[in-house]
């Protein structure tokens, strides 16, 4: 951007590009900064190998679907290795270490730096929050959010997931367990339904053998290629890729406005402020560090929006010496998750779904769900072998199955599997159905992100994270786990394994800069004028259990409106 932008947005994940596109359409000039690489942009043909010729890109002609396809190999280690995968929380240069977060416990964090952020990796699940988790809890009502949900759903767009084998099996089990279908976007009662996903519906010729899969993968629509977490490069052009990560949806739309520029490889180390004549603090810009060269710079704008995620946004607040607020970084929720995996006989599968396999690697990674307002939700999960092994059989607070006395008749196995048990479980991979349990966990002040007093990286003190579920959250998770196990049994599972996942599993992270405590109902910081937040951290709670992205995008759409009205009308 040749002249000073009106607004600087920190982070190009789920929320940042949404607010940028909305502001850009109003004629407001926006610069979006992101710490990671940009896949699918011709200005960075080798984004992991060198810093490229330029610093930013604002021309939609720079976007290139073929390049994106080339970079997103969909190989699980290449894409999702936590240490040096393309989708990791770290610098674009994969030879360097990831950026450290100190979680002093068993922990797994799925966070991604880069244009698109966590939506590069997400399963595109885009349900709305449960109305009862918003009404009488948040400072705003559910009805106030509806028009913004609708706008996001139309823009991405969102469609209910198509049925493939694993969803058919889940629906069968859910029916047998006594649940009925919830035919709605606004969930007020218990029931199952397809996931509302930000994935284009399958191409009408997907089942037509006259078209090769190669041809279909260059046409518009989901190919049911599965494993959405490894990125989706299938479609006729970048902005028409089937999975609607912001890098292929809101980012191109923002660039089309002619008012928005994106700058990758840029880590924001400080929000700059000044004191106004009235004695208030006001945001005036940011201090940045180029992740390739280490050069630092100050950038100025009239308004700053933090959209760096639930760990980085509070860390940035604290590292910027912004005014003290006892709720900054506090109230962290993460949907205290668990998982159960059912193994089926070939004959059972033939009988119920007419195929010998569940094909966990085909279709939407998570295409079906059971909603249970007041308790949480359950969703289907079909991951790749390495990720399935490590997150279902390698990650547990229960310890090793083989060292424990199995005193439960609910689960045949529980906890980590090793040796022959692991071998056996993984050899059944293609006949498994896994369900992820996602709890409506309570906000607790003690769950938090703060600055590590001893450890710094190149951007200052690193975040240290503490999360421990409340007794009520534990009870809810137990109840959901039993329901999920029952659904698997009713569907005909011969064996059920319970992962008993540890609490520090960070996929859905929310509420570390809560509305009503740190930001007002327009998502502007109470204590710093012209400083807004547009990520999951403003959530008042964990939404009742539903996946957070749609709500963050709806809120970002709303915040753009409020911000423009207050400062640019």
């Amino acid at each position: 951007m040749r002249t000073e932008p009106d607004v600087i947005v920190i982070g190009a994940g789920a929320g940042g590009p949404v607010i940028a596109k909305e502001l850009g359409e109003l004629g407001i000039r926006v610069l979006v900064l992101d710490a990671g690489p940009w896949y699918g942009n011709k200005k960075w043909p080798e984004p992991n190998k060198n810093r490229g010729q330029v610093k930013e890109s604002s021309d939609p002609k720079d976007l290139d679907g073929a390049l994106y396809r080339n970079q997103l190999t969909r190989l699980e280690n290449d894409m999702d290795d936590l240490i040096n995968g393309k989708f990791r929380w770290g610098p674009a240069d994969r030879r360097r270490s990831p950026w450290f977060r100190n979680v002093p416990d068993r922990s797994l964090l799925w966070q991604v730096s880069g244009i698109g952020g966590g939506t590069l990796h997400y399963y595109s699940n885009s349900p709305r929050a449960f109305p009862e988790a918003i009404d009488n809890e948040w400072p705003i009502s559910y009805n106030e959010l509806i028009p913004y949900y609708e706008k996001v759903e139309a823009t991405l767009p969102v469609e209910f997931a198509p049925t493939t084998t694993k969803e058919a099996l889940f629906y069968f089990g859910a029916e047998k367990a006594g649940y009925s279908m919830n035919q709605t976007l606004d969930v007020t009662s218990t029931g199952y339904r397809p996931q509302p996903n930000a994935i284009l519906p399958p191409n009408e010729n997907l089942m037509n053998p006259n078209y090769s899969m190669e041809e279909i993968s260059h046409m518009e629509g989901c190919t049911l290629s599965g494993l959405c977490g490894q990125g989706c490069p299938y479609g006729p052009s970048l902005e028409k890729m089937a999975k609607r990560s912001t890098v292929v949806s809101y980012v191109p739309l923002a660039m089309e406005t002619g008012n928005v520029s994106f700058r990758p490889n840029t880590f924001v180390t400080k929000v700059l402020t000044e004191n106004t004549a009235g004695g208030e603090r006001r945001a005036t810009g940011v201090e940045i560090r180029d992740t390739w060269t280490g050069e630092t710079e100050e950038l100025r704008a009239k308004v700053v929006v933090m959209a760096a995620g639930c760990f980085e946004t509070p860390r940035l607040w604290l590292n910027s010496d912004l005014p003290y607020n006892s709720w900054v970084g506090r109230g962290l929720t993460n949907h205290y998750m668990d998982a159960v995996t059912g193994t089926f006989d070939e004959s059972t599968l033939m009988e119920i779904v007419g195929s010998p396999s569940t094909y966990p690697f085909a279709g939407h990674t998570s295409g079906a769900r059971l909603d249970y307002p007041g308790v949480g939700m359950i969703e289907t999960l079909g991951e790749s072998p390495g990720i399935a092994a490590q997150s279902l059989f390698g990650f547990s607070q229960y310890g090793y199955n083989s060292l424990q006395q199995n005193d439960s008749n609910m689960w045949d196995q529980r906890g980590r599997l090793v040796g022959s048990e692991l071998d056996e479980a993984m050899k059944n991979y293609s006949r498994t159905l896994s369900l992820l349990i996602i709890t409506d966990d309570e906000v607790q002040y003690s769950n938090r992100v703060e600055l590590d007093p001893h450890i710094e990286d190149e951007h200052g003190p690193v975040p240290i994270i503490h999360y421990s579920p409340s007794e009520r959250s534990k009870k809810r998770r137990e109840e959901l786990t039993k329901i999920a196990t029952n659904i698997l049994r009713k569907a005909g599972a011969k064996q059920v394994h319970r992962s008993d996942l540890p609490p520090n599993y960070f996929i859905h992270i929310h509420s570390t800069m809560r509305m009503g405590y740190v930001v007002d109902s327009s998502c502007e910081a109470y204590q710093v004028e012209r400083l807004f937040i547009a990520d999951n951290s403003v959530d008042y709670n964990g939404l009742g259990g539903p996946n957070p992205t749609a709500t963050t995008q709806a809120l970002a759409t709303r915040t753009a409106e409020k911000l423009a009205l207050k400062y640019f009308s």
Binding site: D78, I83, S97, S107, E153, G386, Q390, R416, Y429, S430
Partner: protein, 186 residues
């Protein structure tokens, strides 16, 4: 902790050691954390201190007669951990993870650092499984190259074992829609 070869009658190419999973672990653990020192930014290599930690933990459990060393180590110059049976090695990892040891006797950076011990002991399990069941071993002679400089040299053995056909352009498994947005928006 990984499935072993002769026990289950696989070809020798499926042995975790032949697959190089330990190399995956070592390079990953050495790269996992980097911090800012006073003047420079540097990686904190963890593989070696972890090996010392495992030996120290094994020795503590042997001294308490909770595990029993074999007569020979499987590896030349191996420490106490390598004298343990598979089951006793799992018991040692479990004791570490549950902090049922004298943490003062562990090497830096694990000494009296329970959070770090829990984090790393858990990670040893996960990294091993991801190394074994992902495509990593199939990078073959290029597997220790920087990530942008590797090529797949054969079909990943872990994928073959579990019946995953590999990266696909798509599947003709469309069984219709149970519900559409048009239906709920009316």
């Amino acid at each position: 902790m990984l499935p072993s070869t002769h026990q289950y009658g696989y070809e020798s190419t499926y042995n975790a050691i032949d697959l190089g999973v330990h190399e995956y672990l070592i390079s990953g653990l050495d790269q996992n954390i980097s911090i800012q020192k006073q003047l420079e930014h540097q990686a904190v290599p963890l593989a070696y201190p972890i090996a010392i930690m495992l030996d120290s933990a094994a020795t503590q459990l042997v001294n308490a007669s909770q595990v029993h060393p074999l007569h020979n180590s499987q590896f030349p110059d191996g420490g106490m951990f390598s004298y343990l049976s598979k089951n006793d090695r799992i018991r040692t990892l479990s004791a570490l993870e549950n902090l049922k040891l004298d943490l003062y006797l562990l090497p830096s950076p694990f000494q009296n650092n329970g959070g770090m011990v829990k984090f790393i002991t858990d990670a040893l399990n996960r990294f091993s499984m991801f190394g074994y069941y992902s495509e990593w071993p199939a990078y073959g002679t290029t597997r220790l190259n920087p990530p942008g400089y590797r090529t797949l040299e054969f079909f990943p053995p872990g994928w073959f074992l579990v019946g995953y056909p590999g990266v696909s352009l798509g599947y003709r498994d469309f069984r219709g829609f149970l519900l559409t947005m048009a239906e709920v928006n009316t």
